[in-house]
């Protein structure tokens, strides 16, 4: 159907996610019945759908086929918000703390990247990471050649002689690092809190249906508790769903700063660093021409924060960081 998910009171909701270390709980929620339990509690029905292709999942959400979707702060700004779909960050799940990395073949210093071909998924967080890393060594994107490479092909690509530098994320990073000639020269731990993985939902839908937000948050933080307690069964299920084993999954978690406790997520979202991060992101996107042809400046799309402040155009706020539901979880109010 072409029509957008109508913003009105309703009982059936659909949320999509794609395979990534910080989002595996969404799959577990659905499989384990925890989601159903919480949805029932609020008298609604929530379907959680796995979409393998990350970009396709965001596109589907943007097109109105889903009420929520897991994505990064950067993609939320560029795709749904940039496409006029008012979007709210419902659950800030984690930030990448080493999960995204720049890897050089046979070289161990970031500055040596100069002049090389760098394989990465163009316009993704990898691209952003590269831009931020280059800044840190006084280089710019003009000093390298970016080669758009699909994430699915990244490991095989690294195995070829043509490829000398890659920027990618886990589990691909750890796979590549098993090769003796691979050196991690920069990772997202160098820009902590800038690559954030969030469950984004449609603002209108959420406003009309608070039960939707409560059910998702309740279910999510139940699983977070399981994970924090090291529940083997849950972790193994997530590991296998992502195609690896428990040890592999745990090593991916090590480089992910999960907000197991809702209070931590609230604190992170309310901190003063977030607006700065979003400004970096918006400038990066504007520089790449992603915010749309009509965008006269990085401030074209407004981003609002929990304290009510807004970055960018106040008349065109399309991305909202909102801690309401996380706070409810933290307060045990769900």
């Amino acid at each position: 159907s072409i029509s957008q998910a109508a913003a009105e009171e309703k009982t059936d909701f659909k949320v999509c996610w794609s395979i990534y270390v910080g989002w595996m709980p969404w799959g577990y929620l659905e499989d384990s019945g925890i989601m159903d339990k919480w949805a029932e509690k609020y008298g609604i029905d929530v379907e959680i759908v796995q979409i393998n292709d990350y970009v396709e999942s965001i596109n589907q959400y943007t097109a109105g086929e889903y009420d929520g979707c897991s994505m990064t702060n950067m993609d939320a700004l560029s795709i749904p918000a940039g496409g006029g779909v008012d979007t709210t960050a419902l659950i800030v799940g984690d930030y990448s703390n080493g999960n995204d990395a720049i890897i050089l073949k046979d070289k161990s210093d970031l500055a040596e990247i100069e002049g090389q071909n760098v394989n990465l998924v163009e316009l993704s967080v990898s691209h952003y990471l590269l831009a931020r890393a280059l800044e840190s060594v006084d280089l710019s994107e003009r000093d390298v050649t970016v080669v758009n490479t699909s994430d699915a092909d990244m490991i095989a690509a690294y195995a070829t002689d043509d490829v000398t530098a890659v920027v990618t994320w886990n589990p691909l990073v750890s796979e590549i690092l098993t090769q003796s000639n691979a050196n991690k020269v920069f990772d997202s731990a160098g820009i902590p809190g800038e690559i954030i993985d969030i469950m984004m939902v449609n603002t209108e839908t959420l406003a009309d249906n608070p039960a939707f937000g409560k059910a998702l948050a309740g279910a999510w933080y139940e699983v977070m508790e399981l994970m924090a307690s090291g529940d083997e069964e849950a972790l193994t299920a997530m590991a296998e769903a992502s195609g690896t084993d428990l040890a592999g999954y745990k090593s991916q978690l090590d480089s992910t700063e999960m907000f197991y406790a809702p209070a931590d997520a609230v604190a992170f979202t309310e901190s003063g660093d977030l607006p700065k991060t979003m400004q970096f992101v918006a400038e990066f996107l504007f520089d790449k021409g992603i915010l749309g042809e009509g965008a006269p400046s990085p401030e074209f799309v407004g981003v609002s924060f929990p304290d009510g402040s807004v970055y960018g155009d106040e008349a065109n706020v399309k991305l909202r960081f909102d801690t309401t539901y996380m706070t409810m979880a933290a307060d045990g109010a769900l």
Partner: protein, 273 residues
Amino acid sequence: MRLINRKPSRITAFALGAAPFVAVIVAYAVASHYRRLDNPADKLLPSLPDMASAFGRMAFTPDRRSGDLLLWMDTLDSLERLAAGMGISILLALSLGILIGFIPHVRASMAPFVATFSLIPPITVLPILFIIFGLGELSKVMLIVVGTAPVMIRSVAQAVMELPRELIIKAETLGASVWQMMMRVVLPQILPKLITAIRLGLVPAWIFLISAEAIASTSGLGYRIFLVRRYLAMDVILPYVIWITLLAFILDRLLLLASRKAFPWHHMQGESL
């Protein structure tokens, strides 16, 4: 005696036919061996025993999480999608193909559109397909349809147009209506050509199936390959590819056999590759 007049004996022919397969396997084994000498943990070209054991695991060890035998579950799911997609394509090919080939007005109206449509690379319009058909089973099936139906429609229409005009005229003089001609003269004579079209269409159908499963699915042969590709688990991927090829081969032979059985009159007129 000239080479073209020399025919290999059955045994020679068999040996010659097997040779390239053996050569590929040997080349692989050697390449794999040397890569593993370099790096014993090499994942790109796993050893043959590794692949066999990975395949055995997928086929005979129940998955710990779901308790399923993954290979069979994947195969079943993929074949279902393939069957659904090809089923729809076949219906379209038969109905539209016969109408286009048989009725000049329909031909004038649909032939240019179908021809143009067949030139659109379906993967470029994936987002649109997913929006129109959702992300469920339907969109996977429809990707197969969009990728295979136009060409199949064209070959059926072409086959209808190639029916000797004499037969149509004869049917008219025997008092047949247009509908009767379609059912009794055109359709049955087209069926063997349809099977040929299906056999040709299955090649892209598999490709589109795998592409669709890689984008939105939680099971299927394409999904599995996509999933383990992030870990470069070639010990699973390669056996899966061989398995897919084998399935495709068996399907192809079954169709040929079915055609021979069902349309003996068609196969009395000489064979092909």
